[in-house]
Amino acid sequence: MRDDLRTIGALMRRGLNEILRVPAGAIPGVLAPTIFMLGLSAAFAEAARLPGFSADDFRTFIVPVGMLQGAGFTGAATGINLARDIEQGWFDRLMLAPAKRPVLLAGVVGSACLRCLLPASFLLIVAFGLGVSWPGVGALALAALLIMGLAAAAACYATVLALRFRTQQAAPLMQVGTFVAVLFTTAYVPRELLADWLRAIADVNPVTHVLEGVRQGFVGDVTWAATWPALLALAGLVAVFGALAVRGMRRQGF
């Protein structure tokens, strides 16, 4: 057990080291959610005037979307990095190590969980600086937990693709998957204001529950009724994609 934890810790450190060693690769991922939040709130701020809009201003409403996007981008980046490791042969050497496959996956996914806090922190600093109201420590802690969970699910999803295609050219597939999952929700407006077709997708998209779980503290009070669906949705996503990723690792032929 202690060896497993040390392996997970080493792989997480390796993932985090990339931020310092290849900052040019990390910066776009850190900036993108903030740019997206600023851009959307500049362009669509007037949407908050629609009858039935549940927040005082659009920027407050859209901040949680940026946090989830950051988690999604981080998860996709984890898959892209894994694909690079596969191309360069590092992953093959890793698979020769006497470590259990779920432990190796936990190390890769664990680094994504921590890395996703970087774009979220940058986004929140900018947002609070621009006047987004402070949601409280409890709501922020819950938001951090939920985006870490989403980053884990996105990293597992991207890992499945990286193991399947074994090339960085699968990057658009990883990015599009997380992009769709986060935006085809109640990202822009409350459920009641969505077009019928998008409402139907948002209703069956588990990420909608995660988004509402993160958003609740920004637009109102944190309630158990909005929290448990988010936790349940995340548990399901991590379980499904985690199982697929472990299966993919076991099929690597070592």
């Binding site: 040019a24 690769g25 910066i27 776009p28 900036l31 993108a32 740019i35 997206f36 600023l38 851009g39 959307l40 709130s41 500049a42 362009a43 669509f44 701020a45 007037e46 949407a47 005037r49 629609l50 050219q169 658009p172 599009v176 992009f179 769709v180 935006l183 085809f184 990202a187 822009y188 407006v189 204001l193 969505l194 077009a195 077709w197 998008l198």
Partner: protein, 255 residues
Amino acid sequence: MRAASVALARRALRNSLRRPQFLAPLVLFPTLFLAVNVGGLEQTTSLEGFPRVDGFLDFQLAAAITQSLLLGGVSAGIAAALDIEGGFFDRLVACPTPRLAIVLGRVLAASVIAALQVVYFLVVGMIFGASIQGGVVGVLSVLAIGIVAGTGFGALGVMIALRARSASTVQGIFPLVFVILFVSSAFFPANLLSSPADVVAAYNPLSYIAEGMRQPIAFGNALRPLLEGLAAAAAVALAATGLAVLSLRGRLRQA
């Protein structure tokens, strides 16, 4: 020089078509973004001050085309940077190829891809219920502005590639595409943008390019927006091509 430019353009197009994974994001991301914007914000057409349109899709189509063309510029830049990284550029320079053709070939290829992007979005828009109010003349107007703008964005990408010489650096400008686009009136009417985006939008050429294409799609043919759109696109194309040629000269001097 014309033959060399066409030959290099054909090579660039062949390479793009051989790697559809690089072409797909040019239309995939803007299509998804278009879908989310229309599905999420269609009720904003009822806001006071929003121009009268048949649907939000009609209004957003020009934004999606502009976004796609910008991504086309990034893609042209990445392709040029990969040529530099892979050594093809050095071999080209060692040949008696006219220097200007190195830039013009890549820019010409970008203009062909831009035409395909515009056609794709017009077809997708019509399939999902958009109507081109300007008819055939309107379609030709959108194509004209789109091709000239796509040429300019392609030249900008090539210019950045010649300066950066690294595909990953060119890739890094991807978020900037969104910044420039969001501070224009591409996505929402200029009178409904929040400050300071509304001020920046008034000077942003992308506003005129997007509105020039939007006019025939959503409102019908009108000369002034068309000319403003064409002028903005032509200004971007001329300036970017000039800068790309200067960057090429600078790079050749260093070599």
